[in-house]
Symmetry: C2
Subunit: 125 residues, 2 copies
């Protein structure tokens, strides 16, 4: 169903808030993350920095309950429509990882911050 | 502003309909595609299959007029909020490349088809 061959066993996966349509984050899935997402209905990704399966929200509690899974024309990208528990998808505390917009060559923060990562994780990420 | 180092000079770029919030497609940008997108306000990507800059819509006329550019927390993913000229982002004629949803292990087509690729491109893609 998915073409994992194009990118060393990874496909990009986009998480979108199923209710508001806001794009929350982008991460990668390997075949195991894809299988666990299908099996559990909870978003799993592959962490390239930690080199391991990453159940989103395992530490913060902000898991993503998958409402719908969509696949693109080439079968090499996944769109998860999710219910984001806790509201914030980003480890920085913002609702969306895309909390900055480009304006006149600069990044302007205009996203909504829902928690303080220092309080949530016990230290700055 | 963007971290192109993580993935061989590429960053994933998501195109989202600025009006409806529908996720239209995902593609990659290299530094040159990023610069052209900023300079022209029209989405440019890097085609991995053709190994060249790809001005989306150059053949079909279905260009993407960029309304807003957002960057994620790590600076390694871009979200373009666009006006999709012609309505259809996908070369298959569907409004979105994500025209299929996963249901019981199968892909169900439920997207809206706006044109016939054979008519538009003169041959099946």
């Amino acid at each position: 169903m998915l073409d994992f061959q194009k990118m060393n066993d990874l496909v990009p996966a986009i998480a979108q808030d199923a209710e508001t349509g806001e794009v929350l984050m982008m991460a990668f899935m390997n075949p195991e993350a894809w299988r666990r997402t299908l099996d559990t209905g909870i978003a799993h990704y592959w962490s390239r920095s930690r080199n391991q399966i990453w159940k989103k929200g395992e530490t913060s509690g902000n898991v993503q309950q998958v409402q719908e899974i969509r696949v693109d024309c080439d079968g090499d990208c996944v769109l998860l429509r999710v219910r984001q528990v806790g509201g914030a998808a980003c480890h920085t505390g913002y609702r969306s990882c895309f909390y900055r917009r480009v304006e006149a060559g600069a990044l302007i923060v205009d996203g909504e911050k829902l928690f303080d990562p220092a309080e949530k994780y016990g230290a700055s990420p």
